[in-house]
Amino acid sequence: MKDNKHTGMTLIVKTVTRWTVLLIMLYGWYITFFGHLSPGGGFAGGVIVALSFIHIILAYGKDFVAEKISEHLAGILETTGGLMFLTLAILGLAAGIFFKDFLGQGKVFSLFSGGIILPANIAIMIKVGFGMLSAFLCLILFSYQDKK
């Protein structure tokens, strides 16, 4: 890895990023997990999670994240999200009907309620988050190769 201090933006931006990025990601998780109780859901949460990664890329330079999560790995994780969602649907098929809600409603307004909506939201979050991240990584990858 190259000298970390001289890639990306200034020290102020890096410090602020270091302090806020986990909060942003936590907010994304919150939006996802409470998607069935309050406005939000898997798509919105996934976008926020992806933005937290993109935030790091913008502040610390492209190598910093690209070394830890390559666009290859992001693609695999994205696919896993899609597979999780499909698995939920197929589990419903095992319970009788495609996409059947096999978990039951639960106690209204508690976190673990609303049947398969919560797991479906998590699957969508992974799919959307890593999908957006891999799209972003692909875009910066092209400019990187051009400079060489």
Binding site: H72, G75, I76, T79, T80, G82, L83, L86, A89, I90, G92, L93, G96, I97, F98, F99, K100, D101
Partner: protein
Amino acid sequence: MIISLFIILPLATVFINSIIGRFVNKFSDVFVNIVNFILVVLSFISLYQLNTYYNKIFVYQVGGWAIPYGISIVMDHLTVFMLIVVNIVAFLVGLYSISYMERYTEKWGFYSLFELMLAGMNGVIISGDLFNIFVFLEIASIASYALVAFGTERDELEAAFKYIVLSSISTGLILLAIALTYGYTSTLNLADIAKTIQSSDNLLVKIIIFLFILGFGIKAAVVPLHWWLPDAHPSAPAPISAMLSGVLIKTLGVYLIIRVIFNVFPLYPKLLTIILFLGILSMLVGVILALYQWDYKRLLAYHSISQVGYMLLGIGLGTPLGILGGIFHLLNHSIFKSLLFLTSGALEYNFATRDLRNYFYVSKTMRNTTFSATVGSLSIAGVPPFNGFWSKLLIIIACIESKNIFAGLVAIVVSILTLASFLKVLKYGFYKENNELMEYKSKPEILNKSEVPFLMRFSMITLAFLCIILGVLLYPEIREVFLSKAVEIIYQGGLYKEFILK
């Protein structure tokens, strides 16, 4: 139960293949083709089930939600007809791609996109409500944009970009029409819409139908809206050209036009006249533009426009015989056009060019390809006893029967022009005279071209065989279980809502 597998299997293949396929070398070749084969078997099983157990229409409620609220999956004879066409072509094209796509990198990516496109098409066919149709239409379209640009050469990217822009206009129009429909009827279920809209006197209904025809017309490449096709279809890799011309324009275009016009909105004769006129225009313009092409794949792409015109002509007549001709031509065209695109791929595989004048000594060195291309050309030109002849004959008889002598004449003239243009293909591309070849006798590298790999030949020969025997579908007892019932669903459009909402 079986009907939902048409979405589950290809989608699961996409995800599993893009995880495992990137690490294991030959995995996607085997896995994807096995899944495609299972889909073919399943589509025949669903035809059997529909004829044996269910009474005309089988509705499956996703998640167990009742009709106006939930997503419904509908299986009727038109659906099963389309499923059989799409999955057979996809299976054979998938086999062909095993050898053909060796030249490209990231083959697993190709197969993932291929299955995604197949999932989109199957989804469009079996969906029973407008919004799901829209979602699957977008899935199939977006996969096809990526597949057109798969080679990432300059031409391919340009064609893909043009395709994206024009296709996005089409999906925008379709979405607008869906929004207006929802505003007017407060439902998206096809049968429920059909129940709510009783007459088409309302101006808004006319606007909605107009927008739908415009949107699906761009997807089907009907003539005033055909500009994207001659760039997009030749630029894709040959198996994808076969899928795009063979089944994609029919599923996203012709099938949805049929579904929306006949089954959802109340039918009025003026609309059929418009479809008839669009069909005649497409036939003429497509074939005239095709006549002077030297690029083999571009010529085939223009012929796709012309042949879609035949289907619309048959459907636009509105008589049972015309509709039978139209959908039978849909089946036949998907067989012979994918066959012809596969032969163009075989020639490109050996000669690395698409110009007909640059092919030499083909009939001597590539016998199987030449045989398949000859059968395909004669089928598309409507020479008996190949399958194209029977559907064109039905359409022409239907024209004369319903006193549309002009349309029948145009159909005959276009058929002759098609024959002329394919005689050119056969003469220049495959059977060259000896004296033209003399100057190449001295160049052994041209004469030593060998036949393409076995799997490519297998797909082409199977499709050629289908071209020869498919006329048998018109034999009364076979027609009763397969084609006639699909025609019944279209012709008696009201049956659809009655059976779903009973």
